[in-house]
């Protein structure tokens, strides 16, 4: 009904994309028996379930993120943000990391927020530190880690220290070596809408715009994650118990590939009982900082030349910080 109303009021040939959506829907409905049959294949069925699960799990967090990013743009002036953060970017990094601990949410929520922080004049390094800290060290994640590892309080502490260090070290690296040009201009551009529009309009337009630009990448990330879940892992961990170095490497890669929600990965790590704690800590520190879903989302938001530099940097820093935290705390 809605589709028909809109297309009749804007019946111009240049709105071809609307016709395309309608065609896609019609084709999907016609091909319904075929698609339903495809899901009967075991691997495809599991992949489809995991795909929908990741989307349904992550979309509420993305919506929370775009509402926050809308509110940030509409109601928090750049001047107010500058007053909150220390003048020197080097000092702003740890402040941003601690600010991240207060936002309970998954990775997907923090990407649009970090983008709008940059748009509001926060230094890149501080915004990226926030991006890494928010999903990794918030109270919900720490509590779920403590619940998943009863009798191992050092695991929770090591995760907190390792993730916080990852966020700060990456932020400082970006401040020292990063270039402003690596982040695409559209990420810095402010709200769509003329100056003088009222704040609620800015809020709704920013939230909607960020949702449209990030939602597709979230879905793409979920597709990757589902495909890889079926194609790769399960048997990887079976033969690792004897080799610590190999176990660390494989679990670091697994954290990237599986793209688990940061509130759930502790339970998966806890179930890998055959492995020592150190590689499992690496899994928990790497996962929220860099995974396929997140890299796709970042590439879409900040541009490809950003993602190809930021993701490897984060991966190396996260593995290093996790190992350091684990060794210092004697895991």
């Amino acid at each position: 009904m809605i589709i028909r109303r809109v297309s009749s009021t804007v019946a111009r040939p240049r709105v071809w994309s609307l016709h395309a959506v309608c065609s896609v829907l019609v084709v999907a409905l016609v091909a319904r028996p075929l698609l339903a049959e495809a899901v009967v294949d075991p691997a495809l069925g599991i992949a489809a379930t995991v795909f929908v699960a990741v989307c349904v799990q992550a979309l509420p967090f993305l919506v929370l993120g775009v509402l926050l990013s809308g509110a940030l743009t509409a109601f928090v002036s750049p001047a107010a943000l500058r007053r909150l953060l220390p003048e020197r970017p080097g000092a702003a990094v740890p402040v941003a990391a601690l600010a991240g601990t207060a936002l309970p949410g998954c990775e997907c929520a923090s990407v649009p927020v970090a983008r709008r922080l940059i748009g509001q004049g926060v230094p890149d390094s501080a915004a990226l530190t926030f991006l890494l800290a928010a999903p990794a060290v918030n109270p919900v994640v720490l509590v779920s880690t403590a619940v998943a590892f009863p009798g191992e309080p050092r695991m929770t502490l090591a995760r907190f220290v390792g993730s916080l260090a990852t966020a700060c070290v990456t932020g400082w690296c970006w401040q020292r070596f990063g270039r402003a040009g690596w982040i695409v201009d559209r990420a810095r551009r402010s709200t769509p809408g003329a100056p003088g529009t009222d704040r609620w309009t800015v809020f709704a337009e920013t939230a909607r715009h960020d949702l449209v630009s990030a939602g597709g990448f979230l879905v793409l990330g979920a597709l990757f994650s589902a495909a890889l879940t079926v194609a790769v892992p399960a048997y990887w961990t079976a033969t690792l118990a004897g080799d610590l170095v190999l176990a660390v490497a494989v679990l670091a890669v697994l954290a990237v590939v599986l793209a688990l929600c940061s509130e759930a990965d502790a339970f998966v790590a806890a179930s890998l009982t055959a492995l020592p704690l150190l590689p499992r800590l690496v899994f928990l520190v790497v996962g929220p900082a860099v995974d396929v879903k997140l890299v796709v989302l970042q590439a879409g938001t900040f541009g490809r030349s950003f993602a190809t530099r930021f993701a490897p940097l984060t991966f190396v820093v996260a593995v290093g910080c996790a190992l350091a935290a684990g060794l210092v705390l004697g895991l």
Partner: protein
């Protein structure tokens, strides 16, 4: 992509999220507590799209000069990526993938190590108390299964045929189906299910076979079956 198209896609996605929380489809993918988040997200998405569409079109329909709806998204990949948001909506509308079941269990390797030894409280009194498979497997692996010794319990799960003995399984999740951890027991003894197809839901009463959760069995305990009945698929297929 045209703003109207974006709005239609958002409406489609938001309405899909609302719909799967209205029936219990959402429980195939995430834990029950997440349902309200999904519902809220669906409503917000619908509202954002509806407000934008109304602001674009209502003034023009009333004959006033409103905001032109010709605003395109900025260039670059984000112009096309928004298309992907129709994929989950279509998959849910067309196929609504089933909850993970026997296929997911057989693809997951058996555990390599004993479960964490936890001190469990004694079982509740009464004949054949209901236990989740997660709790049963945990108890069987802790303290040599002492808290289960000699007690008949009731377990509900789906059948996973194959191997020396058919297994009864349940998938445990902590956030969504992506972090699934299958929990299984072997069904042994004459009263076990003869030939049920995979994913048949069963309610089993039985006793833990002492010492059956060991390294030799990869810590999959065996249950000496006293009785089995086929039950309908539960609304909530997972354990948490």
């Amino acid at each position: 992509m045209h703003r109207d198209t974006q709005n239609v896609i958002l409406l489609l996605l938001g309405a899909t999220l609302v719909r799967i929380t209205a029936d219990d489809t959402v429980l195939r993918y995430v834990r029950p507590g997440h349902r309200w988040w999904v519902l809220g997200a669906g409503i917000v998405i619908v509202l954002l799209a509806a407000v934008a569409a109304l602001r674009d079109h209502v003034p023009r329909l009333l004959g006033r000069s409103g905001r032109s709806p010709a605003g395109h998204a900025h260039g670059g990949p984000e112009r096309h990526a928004a298309w992907l948001m129709v994929v989950p909506a279509i998959v849910l509308a067309v196929a609504a993938p089933a909850a993970l079941g026997a296929d997911a269990v057989t693809r997951t390797p058996l555990p390599d190590a004993a479960p964490v030894d936890v001190r469990y409280a004694p079982l509740p009194p009464g004949s054949a108390p209901e236990l989740t498979l997660t709790e049963f497997v945990g108890r069987a692996g802790s303290d040599g299964g002492a808290t289960l010794a000699g007690r008949t319990v009731t377990l509900t799960g789906f059948a996973v045929p194959g191997g020396e003995a058919p297994r009864l399984a349940r998938i445990a999740i902590s956030c969504c189906a992506a972090d699934a951890r299958p929990q299984t027991v072997r069904l042994v003894g004459g009263a076990g299910p003869a030939h049920v197809p995979p994913d048949t839901w069963l309610r089993v009463r039985g006793v833990l076979q002492p010492g059956s959760a060991s390294s030799a069995t990869r810590w999959v305990p065996a249950v000496q079956v006293a009785s089995v009945e086929v039950v309908p698929v539960p609304v909530d297929p997972y354990e948490y």
